[in-house]
Point group: C2
Chain length 201, copies 2
DNA sequence: GGACTTAGTGAGTAATCAGTCATAAGGAGG
DNA sequence: CCTCCTTATGACTGATTACTCACTAAGTCC
């Protein structure tokens, strides 16, 4: 707060390292999503938020470390969205949509919608594909594998689903990822299509 | 034939441009699968088959053109495998495995197995992921989209499946791709797991 | 054996890259 | 005012890149 009391020359401010780190991370997700680990230069990331390229290396030890942090952020966002969706489906703020569905189905339904909303921005969607593609790198693979295991466990726990229902849920999600990556589905009808795809039309 | 009559000093032979092109294409699939479009240098590809790096550019106009050719080859192999599988399931050389299944189910079953066999080599599997990841490039995206549309059409035609059955078939395939990419599944039980995953256990 | 075509390479180029380092400059506390 | 810490950059480096070009040599036809 003391810092905020100082006069603000717009855009001239210095930020804390922590603020910058999150900025860089966000920019990194955006750039990595478009061009992948090897196709993205640290300069691209720096330019996106208007800092110098060397400063990236003060905030992250290497480009790969930044990529790994981006993976964590990506999975965190999915996990959070799933938790919120499951919580929302607990107190039915949306009445009479699927009165006949079981609680488990209702939660999966809500989580499917949450996933669609998250991926509609395309940034997370494309970054996810880049993360899978970069899995020939052992560090990347380890991290992605770890987060997948955790996501499946968490998803099973909070939805109550298991076995075929859970597998089917993730399977439809992955197909959606691919088809959305290549824009096989007309943009305009993506919403409707997504809901049908996920089996909750 | 006239060419073959000449004395062969092992390894000293010159090949036709066409032979080299297929060699290069094969090497390209292997390298691109591991390191992606941007992570693979033309030198890596050249070294793999023991030719000079500049010669690549006599056989293909650019690195991207080579990548696009690799995409075609990848989808061709899947398509061929599917066609063969459907043909095989027509004359039941394997009796009494699923006597109760409908012809459509039997064909999908056989095609699922064929896909597992193809992907077991991991080369096509990983290259596929690289192709999806490279879809921010418009030329790549166009080609992948085209081949996907064609693959879905062909698959529907030769299997007789449609709607949910077809969607489910591809969805399970994509989930398998991802989980196999990150080796989430223990290598030893991959076969059994794959069959269960595809719903034909 | 000589002329012509085709396979194949060595040497280079201009550009780009991740990462380093010395140093500037903003702000807080005295 | 001065001191000290942190934010931030400019200038650089050695390595790597896709791609070009002039050239060699192998094989073919007459």
């Amino acid at each position: 707060m003391a810092r905020q009391a100082a006069v603000k020359k717009a855009g001239d401010l210095r930020h804390t390292a922590e603020e910058r780190r999150t900025e860089v991370l966000q920019a990194a997700v955006a750039e990595f999503a478009l061009h992948g680990l090897h196709g993205t230069s640290t300069e691209m990331i720096a330019k996106r938020i208007g800092i110098s390229q060397p400063y990236i290396f003060r905030l992250f030890p290497s480009k790969k470390a930044l990529f790994l942090a981006a993976i964590d952020q990506c999975f965190d966002r999915v996990e959070t969205a799933f938790r919120n969706a499951a919580r929302e489906s607990a107190n039915p703020s949306e009445p009479n949509r699927h009165a006949t569905a079981s609680p488990v189905e209702a939660r999966l339904h809500e989580m499917g919608h949450a996933y669609l909303r998250l991926m509609a921005k395309r940034e997370l969607l494309l970054f996810q594909m880049q993360a899978y593609a970069a899995c020939s790198d052992e560090d990347v693979r380890r991290k992605v594998k770890l987060r997948w295991e955790r996501l499946m466990k968490v998803t099973g726990e909070i939805s109550g689903a298991s076995g075929d229902a859970l597998t089917g849920f993730f399977a439809r999600g992955m197909l959606m990822n691919v088809l959305a990556s290549i824009r096989l589905v007309p943009e305009k009808s993506a919403d409707k299509w997504g809901h049908e795809m996920l089996g909750y039309g």
